[in-house]
């Protein structure tokens, strides 16, 4: 009887099986790396239809965050201001530049300005600004030094893991409510002091730390 299989068939099968196994393992390691949320566009400035510079308005003009983001203390969303807010000044100040002209056009035509969202969360996540702001989480804790940004970028990854870092240990990140809108505020340098302060604030503000790490707090 003739040999159907050439002499190297044995080796071929052995290589194929072991190679396939190694390949499968490599895929199982490599693919999640490819697909993982990396830094989620942290630090990447987002272009906007009107090049609105936060640093100029906050530092030079002296606006508080709440001048425009009016509902941050009462609602889930901080809200982006209507054209009317911009027109409060720019109907008279710095009229004629391309940026302010776009604002005036929006006002005159009744077409709202379509901003690009920088901090985006999936639809099944329900984040509420007011409960954070009223309980000692500062704007800069999550959004960074907005007063130094000419174009806004994401300062933190906004992944669930990142949220949980604070939700599991709120003492590390809390500040007195009076300092929430203070861009310069830094957590206390000495870790033990910050933890002590944080623990006091958790008590004072009646923060239920059990509730912070439960699914129903953010997912409805």
């Amino acid at each position: 009887m003739p040999q159907y299989f050439p002499p190297n068939s044995n080796a071929f099968v052995t290589w194929a099986v072991w190679g396939g196994g190694v390949f499968a393992v490599l895929m199982m390691i490599a693919l999640p790396f490819y697909a993982r949320t990396t830094n989620n566009n942290v630090g990447v400035p987002v272009a906007q239809p009107i090049d609105y510079p936060h640093n100029l308005h906050v530092v030079q003009v002296g606006l508080d965050c709440r001048y425009c983001h009016t509902t941050v203390e009462t609602s889930s969303t901080a809200s982006v201001p209507p054209t009317e807010t911009c027109m409060g000044c720019h109907s008279q100040l710095r009229v004629g530049t391309p940026q302010t002209q776009a604002v005036v056009d929006s006002w005159n035509n009744g077409t709202p300005i379509s901003w690009n969202r920088v901090h985006e969360l999936p639809d099944f996540v329900y984040f509420n600004h007011s409960v954070h702001v009223n309980n000692g989480v500062g704007c800069s804790s999550c959004h960074g030094r907005v007063d130094e940004m000419a174009q806004i970028w994401k300062n933190e990854p906004m992944t669930m893991g990142w949220c949980l870092e604070c939700h599991r240990n709120p003492e590390t990140a809390l500040r007195p409510v009076s300092e929430v809108f203070n861009m310069d505020y830094q957590p206390l340098a000495e870790p033990k002091a910050q933890l002590a302060l944080g623990a006091t604030l958790v008590e004072t503000y009646h923060i239920d730390t059990d509730k912070l790490i439960q699914c129903s707090t953010c997912h409805r």
């Binding site: 693919l31 999640p32 490819y34 697909a35 949320t37 990396t38 989620n40 566009n41 987002v46 509902t71 203390e73 009462t74 609602s75 889930s76 969303t77 809200s79 982006v80 201001p81 209507p82 054209t83 009317e84 929006s106 006002w107 009744g110 077409t111 709202p112 300005i113 379509s114 901003w115 690009n116 969202r117 920088v118 985006e120 999936p122 639809d123 099944f124 329900y126 509420n128 007011s130 409960v131 009223n134 309980n135 503000y205 009646h206 923060i207 239920d208 059990d210 509730k211 439960q214 699914c215 129903s216 707090t217 997912h219 409805r220």
Partner: protein, 994 residues
């Protein structure tokens, strides 16, 4: 549904020999049919063919291969580069806070009568309706139909364009045509208006102005929802118009003559609340009222009856006459129906005589005017007037018997006197009695125009179609059953440039550019003294006009000499459907899929017959029969309904439409084809089997809790007397002692401890909670085929149970939301941890983790979990207008994800956040679940159990409190109060027990 023979004699024998109460959900369960067994064993029965018909093995494999290749790494994508947009206002309205809803008071109308609502609006988009606590016809509650109205607003099948015959047109052309038609008829001779029941003071004054200008014009009213028989009955009794308004809080004895007073009629919500308040029982020392119900087909009100007898319609009338005679009222001669025994009749008369001034007799709309007149006379004889019954001036602008008005109109159309007809809102081509043949009469009218919400049967037959604005898009006003006026305000601009009745009427009065806002304001400016701005702000804000309740009507009932209806071997009752009403909601998917009380039918209507009639005519559920009445025929499927009177057939109107829209056309059979304008009650009919079969989709056998043969005391019920025997530990609440041996350790809930109690004593099974939950939580509909497989998605379902004989059972309704078990069987078995427990006691469902194993649903003994077998919800990529009805505070679930009742976790979260922002605790009553808010009888109570002063903690302390399937040691947070009935002590055996 009818593979096996249901041997009714055998079932009757078995039930008769039963010792102790046995609760059954369906005849199939009693007969233990194969189909019942299938649904009992498997929550989701496997079908013979896994795919829809027509897919071969090769194609299946091809699809499988293709989807594998495409599915590949599609989930492993980087975050999308295109940014979501934030689009703020240009000029933001003062009150709007993005992220927080606003509530505006308006009213929904049925038959012209208003029921106040608070419409929840998210940044200008209405998403939910709640009741208006300040409105007398709502008291904070809503009916099931009202909850579904918000979906109708976004219905893409609504009338979107002006049309002249087949060609598109504009408002300018339509209003010009109206003016032209009017100008061609001097003095309006031959010009006719057809409206539904008008209670709107503004519209009434506009019509008055019109008739003043054109004295020869005529105004007709036809509204299938109008209580014609009540109006005719009042005229018969008093010789003038008066509305009977009941005060059931003062009634210890209520007699209902074919009256579903808690679920139908303009005062249903107010009556339901008042009746329930007088019936609610927590301790054995509380007093309870007593209800005697005499009716043909089981009704929601009868669920609360202490004594019920099923009588065919003519027998109800005969009983009314006999009862009236026994109370000393001069009434037509009648023999008491045999089904009402001497014992029951005598006890009833004695009970009424002992409760003079604290009793009330209510006649139902399906009974002819003579029965209404008898009821008025009886109330008068019993001294109830001014106490439990008050007579007020009618709220309708021009009270009329609509049947007669339509008959006169059709006569005019047929003989040519009507030369122009403008129809407001009504759909007479579909809803007019077939005996009038409205369609052919309409064809004879030279000029016809119609203002309507849908391009329906009437719109297809008229010359000019004007799209109507939905009530949520309209400025108007309306009166409630007691005359209270609500100024209706819109929540959103009309989507399709629709017009309101006011704007069309203004065009007829010569001003085609008047806006509804101005018209309504101008009316009230002319009719209000003092500061108009104050009046307007207060009235629009509150949803009621202060002091607008109707004045009393001084009326006395005379002797009743009209003839009683003649009996027939089989009497046909054509009734308004519980969900679709007269058919106007046929295109509303939520209402089509809402399981009817008792039969649990969805997506169809059926001819209901009693078991006795079914045996006699050898009918089974699903058989097609030919109903013939007054020379007209209709084929309909049969449903054998336990508790339905012998010698009668009940068919719901509102189905069998041809131009309802994508959802409603062709669903069910059209009962209007049998409707006769000369008949005010039930008509004689014959029923013949055709031999064909029809598949009905009922949810009755779905989600059974019966288990493997073990007796599970799911429904617990007893009498007030039994409760008094053992006030702290009634036997019927704890029939069997359970051995407690718990596997899981206890957890101490220190913060909020959410819990719910459902009071079965006052639950009428009206389904308001079901639709409220659907509206609040973005629950999709699945269609008839999927419902047949048990895949309906309602998070709360109302299980119906019967007890006693199949001919005269007692009725029980049990709303079943997720029980939120403290030791939930569904939690430990989820392989990905998608269902977990939180520190407040909620069993949390995390949609983004769920992979669709369905082990949780398998483990749930209450069968309250719902799985998205297919992509039922609209994806963002192919969303229609219907997605605008979604509540933004609740996730929309995709295919493959499990969902269930969450105790309205979004409402709890909102309250918790608000409380935290104000550094306080959540107060009792701050969190109201959707089901709790909607319930007309306040059967559902929700709150924090750790708050010792809360209402829910107080109710759970009642000795009637128990939880379902306690032997399983799940410790559910949702508990029930056993149903207590208050039968007449003189009728101690189960004589005519309701």
């Amino acid at each position: 549904m009818s593979d096996s023979q249901l041997d009714l004699t055998q079932i009757r024998a078995r039930l008769a020999n039963q010792e102790g109460p046995d609760y059954w959900r369906s005849l199939d369960q009693l007969a233990d049919t194969e189909e019942f067994q299938v649904f009992l064993q498997r929550e989701f029965p496997r079908q013979a063919a896994p795919m829809e018909a027509g897919l071969e093995r090769r194609d299946f494999l091809k699809l499988l291969g293709a989807s594998m290749a495409l599915a590949g790494l599609s989930a492993c994508a980087r975050p999308p580069l295109a940014h979501e947009k934030i689009v703020p206002y240009v000029k933001q309205p003062d009150q709007i806070t993005p992220g927080k809803p606003l509530f505006f008071a308006t009213a929904v109308t049925y038959g012209g009568y208003a029921e106040g609502v608070l419409a929840e609006s998210h940044q200008g988009r209405p998403t939910k309706l709640e009741g208006n606590p300040d409105h007398p016809a709502s008291l904070g509650a809503t009916a099931a139909v009202t909850q579904a109205q918000v979906l109708s607003l976004y219905d893409p099948d609504r009338s979107q364009a002006y049309a002249n015959g087949g060609t598109a047109s504009t408002w300018e052309d339509a209003s010009a045509a109206l003016a032209g038609a009017l100008a061609a008829l001097p003095n309006g001779e031959g010009f006719a208006l057809l409206t539904e029941n008008v209670t709107s003071p503004t519209l009434a004054s506009q019509i008055e102005e019109f008739l003043g200008k054109y004295p020869a014009a005529r105004w007709y009213q036809y509204d299938p929802l109008h209580p014609d028989n009540a109006v005719a009955g009042a005229r018969l009794a008093f010789g003038t118009d008066a509305t009977a308004v009941h005060d059931l809080s003062k009634a210890a004895v209520v007699v209902a003559l074919d009256a579903d007073f808690m679920n139908s009629g303009p005062a249903r919500l107010a009556d339901a609340r008042a009746f329930a308040d007088a019936r609610r029982i927590r301790r054995s020392t509380d007093t309870m009222n007593r209800l005697y119900q005499f009716e043909t087909s089981p009704s929601n009100s009868a669920s609360l009856a202490d004594h019920r007898v099923a009588l065919k319609p003519s027998d109800v009338a005969a009983l009314a006459a006999a009862l009236a005679a026994a109370l000393g009222v001069q009434a037509p001669n009648a023999t008491r129906p045999a089904a009402v025994s001497n014992e029951l009749f005598d006890a009833l008369v004695a009970d009424l005589k002992a409760n003079q001034g604290t009793s009330v007799v209510i006649a139902g709309e399906d009974q002819p005017p003579v029965v209404h007149a008898l009821a008025h006379a009886m109330n008068q004889a019993l001294g109830n007037v001014g106490k439990t019954v008050n007579y007020l001036q009618p709220a309708a602008a021009r009270p009329a018997v609509h049947r007669d008005e339509l008959t006169a109109l059709v006569a005019g159309m047929n003989d040519g006197t009507v030369k122009a007809l403008v129809v407001f809102d009504a759909n007479p081509v579909y809803t007019a009695p077939a005996s009038l043949d409205f369609a052919s009469a309409l064809a004879k009218v030279p000029f016809t125009a119609r203002l309507g919400l849908y391009p329906d049967e009437t719109a297809a037959a008229v010359d000019w179609t004007i799209p109507q604005a939905h009530f949520l898009e309209t400025w108007s006003d309306a009166r409630a059953f007691d005359g209270t006026v609500t100024i209706q305000q819109p929540l959103i601009l009309p989507f399709y440039n629709g017009k309101s009745a006011h704007e069309v009427m203004a065009a007829l009065n010569g001003n085609a550019t008047a806006a509804g806002y101005d018209i309504v304001r101008n009316y009230w400016k002319a009719n209000v003294t003092g500061s108009f701005d104050d009046f307007w702000r207060e009235s629009v804000y509150r949803g009621t006009v202060a002091g607008s309740r109707a004045a009393a009507a001084n009326v006395t009932a005379g002797a009743v000499t009209a003839a009683l209806p003649t009996a027939a071997p089989i009497e046909l009752k054509l009734v308004l459907d519980a969900s679709l009403l007269d058919g106007r909601f046929a295109n509303n998917g939520w209402l089509q899929e809402l399981p009817k009380a008792f039969s649990n039918l969805t997506w169809d209507n059926a001819a209901l017959v009693g078991p006795a009639t079914a045996e006699e005519l050898k009918l089974e559920t699903g058989d097609m029969v030919k109903l013939s009445s007054n020379g007209r025929d209709l084929e309909a499927p049969v449903w054998v309904q336990p508790g339905h009177a012998p010698g009668a057939v009940t068919l719901a109107l509102g189905y069998g439409r041809t131009h309802a829209g994508k959802v409603g056309s062709g669903v069910g059979v059209n009962g209007y084809l049998l409707l006769d304008h000369t008949v005010s009650g039930a008509a004689a009919a014959t029923v013949t089997k055709t031999g064909a079969q029809y598949e009905l989709a009922s949810t009755q056998m779905h989600h059974s809790l019966e288990g493997t043969g073990e007796r599970r005391y799911i429904v617990r019920s007893g009498t007030l007397a039994e409760f008094k025997e053992a006030p702290e530990h009634p036997h019927f609440v704890h029939p069997v002692a359970h051995h407690e041996a718990d596997l899981y350790p206890n957890y101490e809930y220190k913060g909020y401890k959410w819990g719910m109690v459902i009071d079965q004593t006052v639950c009428t099974g009206c389904n308001a909670c079901v639709v409220a939950c659907q509206s609040e939580n973005n629950i999709p509909i699945v269609g008839k085929a999927q419902v047949s497989k048990g895949r309906e998605m309602h998070w709360i379902r109302v299980d119906n149970y019967y007890s006693g004989s199949i001919d005269a059972p007692e009725f029980f309704h049990q709303p079943m939301p997720c029980q939120q078990c403290e030791k939930a069987p569904c939690e430990p078995v989820c392989p990905v941890g998608a269902t977990v427990h939180d520190s407040e006691g909620l069993n949390v469902m995390v949609y983004n983790r769920c992979v669709g194993t369905r082990y949780c649903s398998n483990n749930c003994p209450y069968k309250v979990r719902r799985f998205n077998w297919l992509q039922y919800a609209e994806l963002a990529t192919d969303a229609t207008e219907m997605s605008l009805a979604n509540n933004p505070d609740v996730s929309v679930r995709s295919r493959g994800v499990m969902e269930k009742c969450t105790y309205c976790t979004q409402r709890i979260a909102t309250a918790r956040i608000d409380a935290s922002n104000e550094d306080r605790k959540i107060r009792d009553g701050e969190v109201v679940t959707a089901c709790q808010a909607a319930c007309p009888t306040q059967a559902i109570v929700f709150g924090d159990l750790n708050d010792t002063g809360s209402r829910v903690a107080g109710v759970k302390a009642s000795p009637l409190n128990y939880w379902m399937l306690e032997e399983l040691q799940t410790f559910p947070r949702t508990t029930y109060l056993a149903k207590v009935k208050n039968p007449n002590p003189a009728l101690l055996n189960s004589e005519g027990r309701g």
